[in-house]
Amino acid sequence: MATRALPRAQARSALGTEVGAFLRHIDYLLLLAVGGVIAYGLWVLSAVTRNDIPGDSGYYLFRQEIYVAFGVLVLAVFTAVNPDVFRRYKRVLYGLAIFLLLIVFPLAENVRGSQRWIAFGSFNFQPSELGKVLLILFLAGFLADRSRRVGEWRVTWSVVGLAAIPIVLVFEEPDFGSALIYGCAAAAVLLFGGLPWKQLGILAALAALISLSMLWFLPAAGVDVLDQYQKDRLIGFVHPDVDPRGTTYNITQSITAVGSGGYDGRGVAGATQTNLDFLPEHNTDFIFSSLAEQRGFLGAAILLLLYALIAWRGIKIVAVAPSLFMAATAGAIVFTFLVQIFINVGMTIGIAPVTGIPLPFVSFGGSSMITTLAMIGLLEAIHVRGKLAGYK
């Protein structure tokens, strides 16, 4: 199923016709959904951050708009460029990813115990966000090059090993959330690359074993892989009442904020959890809580439905992908997108660990916005190539 017949040759035509065909085959519903989420996200961000910077109610909104503008350009470029170009230069991309993740350590400022951001003037660049796309492209390319040998343990272990290097690097920043996303990206590449179910099952079991041992077995043996705060956050969401003002403070406050929103929200002025700073990081990681508090179930549902629309279009694109490389890439993009939404939203409502993953298109932040738009650009590029190649 993953390996398809080669696409039929396309008749060459004039440049104008080619551009016309290209534009005709763009998935406009996906663009509409993305545009909708971004517009909705900007509206949410402006309401949530209105009182954050005294005297400058538009501080975050203005910056986010610049990121969107830049991100749309990036999207256009990624749509236009044939993804096979990335496949050709996959080793460069991988090298770039490792390089970026390495220079974080000497360059990045320590923010709340973690080194994730590199400052470029007033813009803070987060390499782990860009690394996500780079890793997906590299792993998909690597696997596609060995398409005939997929299913051999040698290949599988190579993929796992190559994915493990950046995972360990972001883990050491420490950025547990990104490590988790990287792991999911690698798993998705293997899934859509056609790995046999048996191997997938074994890998899943191994992954479960490793996480369990990091959380319980190794600490019991005296080896601490995770910092205490990470463990507290990972396990804390299970028992938020244990320590209401300490580690689980964020979870409790977030759940209270979401719950207090009720059916149609408390409005911007009435959202006390947000306005009085009970909700930490309410412009980035916990922006969903603020949205839910201000706009209630209705407002949260609108956002989730828009996400669902994007996911649906994304899955359709996986289906029309013209090559194994593109299918694995598209599949990994859609999968990480879903995981990211689940972990971020789940974290704010107490069903997922607190890991500091941004909410795509809504959380304030340039790296995430631009990277996610680049991934949408990739999906569009794959869609166009698939359609041009005649896949329905």
Partner: protein, 628 residues
């Protein structure tokens, strides 16, 4: 197939999220809304304005003044980097002239409660307030608020009577939780402030205020219970007479010094209405400035007060000091002897220079005396040997009648005055000796003990207030009053209206000691002669006073320990009243280590009579006589 897996995954994710959101927001939304509301609500106690203390004429003694308070928000400081935090605290310390280490210590003490502000300094001057407000960015977590401080309108007068207000201790909270006291309250710790705290304190307000995550107040205060200002307490004290009494004590000590009494270093003086027990003046020397307890108490000031060289200025010697009464005790001996029929008023007893009792020699203060005396004369001349004879007669009786009468007249027990802590003194008995002493020889009550007690020496101890009450009893015809310092608890009247009395002080009715009027008259005459007859011990001072004063001197030996000295020192006493026959004021003065009562104490008492009866000091002649 694999696409279907992702599709199922996506559907599952969105279903889970929707379900959970529905549960949180729609099903339990109301609960969380309550949580969110309570999250930002803090209850607070707003201290009520404390009542004022006024004198009997309505002159304000203690009131409140508004004060600007600088406070720190621990939660806001917690948000700063350690460097910025320390820099901020150091800036605060420098600006407000508060030790940096004390701020750190206060913050450390409150590290579990980050949401309650900590007062750094009371009474911040306006210039510094303005500086703080203009440089708010340099002082994160610092806020200015309004408080009120105790103010002593008449300076340091009546310091021991008024007492001071301080933060409640944990023991006090535990003992008075039921009365609505809570940690952080400021309550009266001594004097009237302590005794009448329940009226003065009012009722603290309880309210709610909306705060943000750092505990910063974000709304107006909503009261569930408004603070109710405390009631005023009107004292029986007369501010003018009190001031005179304190000056008179200083004067008495000065005279004692001039008389060569180097150790004279304190005393007490009480002026009281002998008919009602209302205390018009109650002075204790040395005194202190009560305003050192206002606001943030400086430990250095407290240490200075506690130094032995300061001679315990916070001790109210009038109620908490015990002294041998010396000759001022003689009226008790006289009354007891007359009541018991052991001597007749006109019986003549030889007053000699000394008396040998069981081989022990007891001297008279006047070694050259040698004449027969009646009781009146003996009292007026304060003949010790006369009273030694009475003492010997008491010694013959096994039921200790002198001690019995002394106790009837209120000795050996507190007077019940409404400020404390009150000492009860000591009336020594054979039983007491047996219990108190260890060695067999000391346990025996000897004739010498009876002889000594008859002239108010030996082990007997009294407070100046007990003596004042004794002389009030003699003046008023045998009634033992309950001394008190508070006249009423009242509410200030609205706009020029007279104040409303809420609770008048109701003293116990004076207790009739059931003295024989004849015996009492003998003693009264003795006291009158003491201030008027040529041989009277204070006639030089009171003889020419336009109002007829009757009173008795006392010079009591007491073993004292002073820094670098211990030995016997004479305590100077004078107690008396006037006008004779129609008493309106009783005064008792005591100068510690002041020497002769007639030299140091009587002139001090005279000053108070002068003030009370508005007598011009230059209108008559008063001369100190060196006597008992």
């Amino acid at each position: 197939m694999r696409i279907a897996v992702v599709g199922v995954f996506a559907v599952t994710i969105f279903c889970v999220l929707f379900f959970r959101l529905w549960a949180l927001q729609v099903i339990s939304g109301q609960t969380y809304l309550e949580d969110a509301r309570n999250n930002q609500v803090r209850t607070f106690r707003a201290p009520a304005q404390r009542g004022s203390i006024i004198d009997r004429h309505g002159n304000v003694l203690v009131s409140n003044v508004p004060s600007t308070v600088a406070q720190l928000w621990p939660a806001a400081l917690d948000q700063l980097t350690p460097e910025r935090r320390e820099a901020t605290l150091r800036r605060v310390a420098r600006l407000l002239q508060v030790p940096y280490r004390r701020i750190e210590r206060d913050l450390e003490k409150r590290k579990d409660d980050l949401l309650t502000p900590i007062t750094v300094k009371n009474d911040v001057p306006d210039a510094k307030v303005n500086y703080l407000l203009e440089h708010q960015n340099d002082f994160p977590g610092v806020q200015i608020s309004q408080g009120s401080l105790r103010h002593y309108d008449q300076g340091s007068i009546a310091a021991q009577v008024l007492g001071y207000v301080g933060e409640i201790s944990q023991e006090q909270v535990d003992a008075r939780k039921k009365a609505g006291y809570a940690p952080g309250d400021r309550i009266g710790q001594t004097g009237v402030e302590a005794t009448y705290d329940m009226y003065l304190r009012g009722r603290p307000g309880i309210g709610r205020v909306y705060v943000d995550a750092l505990g910063r107040v974000k709304s107006a205060r909503e009261y569930e219970q408004l603070p109710e200002a405390g009631d005023n307490v009107r004292l029986t004290l007369d501010a003018g007479l009190q001031k005179t009494a304190e000056e008179a004590l200083d004067y008495g000590i000065r005279i004692a010094h001039d008389d060569g009494r180097w150790a004279a270093d304190g005393g007490a003086l009480i002026a009281m209405d002998p008919n009602t027990g209302e205390i018009l003046a109650l002075a204790s020397n040395p005194s202190f400035d009560p305003s050192i307890y206002v606001g943030r108490v400086k430990q250095g000031n407290l240490n200075r007060l506690g130094k032995s060289s300061q001679n315990h200025p916070t001790l109210d010697r009038a109620v908490s000091g015990v002294y041998p009464p010396g000759s001022t005790f003689k009226p008790i001996t006289a009354l007891a002897a007359l009541e018991e029929g052991m001597v007749a008023p006109d019986e003549l007893i030889q007053c000699t220079g000394k008396e040998v009792v069981d081989g022990q020699t007891f001297t008279n203060w006047d070694p050259y005396a040698n004449e027969p005396m009646t009781m009146t004369t003996a009292l007026a001349a304060s003949c010790d040997t006369y009273f030694y004879q009475l003492g010997l007669r008491f010694y013959e009786r096994k039921d200790s009648p002198l001690q019995k009468w002394a106790r009837k007249m209120g000795f050996g027990a507190p007077t019940g005055v409404d400020i404390g802590p009150e000492e009860k003194g000591l009336v020594p008995t054979p039983n007491w000796r047996r219990r108190y002493f260890k060695t067999e020889i000391d346990k025996i009550w000897t004739s010498g003990d009876s002889v000594q007690l008859a002239i108010g020496q030996g082990d007997v101890l009294v407070t100046p207030l007990q003596m004042t009450r004794l002389y009030a009893m003699i003046a008023s015809g045998g009634k033992l009053v309950e001394p008190h310092i508070v006249k009423s608890v009242e509410e200030p009247g609205n706009q020029g209206q007279p104040p409303v009395v809420l609770r008048p002080y109701a003293p116990k009715p004076p207790k009739d000691v059931r003295l024989d009027p004849g015996a009492l008259r003998v003693v009264q005459e003795g006291l009158y002669n003491a201030t008027h007859a040529s041989y009277g011990t204070s006639s030089g001072i009171f003889g020419a006073f336009p109002i007829e004063i009757a009173g008795k001197t006392g010079t009591a030996e007491k073993f004292v320990r002073l820094p670098g000295y211990q030995g016997l020192q004479d305590q100077a006493w004078w107690c008396g009243y006037g006008p004779y026959g129609k008493p309106k004021l009783v005064v008792c003065a005591l100068i510690e280590n002041g020497g002769h009562g007639g030299v140091a104490a009587a002139p001090a008492a005279l000053k108070v009579f002068e003030k009370y009866f508005k007598v011009d000091p230059n209108s008559y002649v008063s001369a100190v006589k060196n006597s008992d």
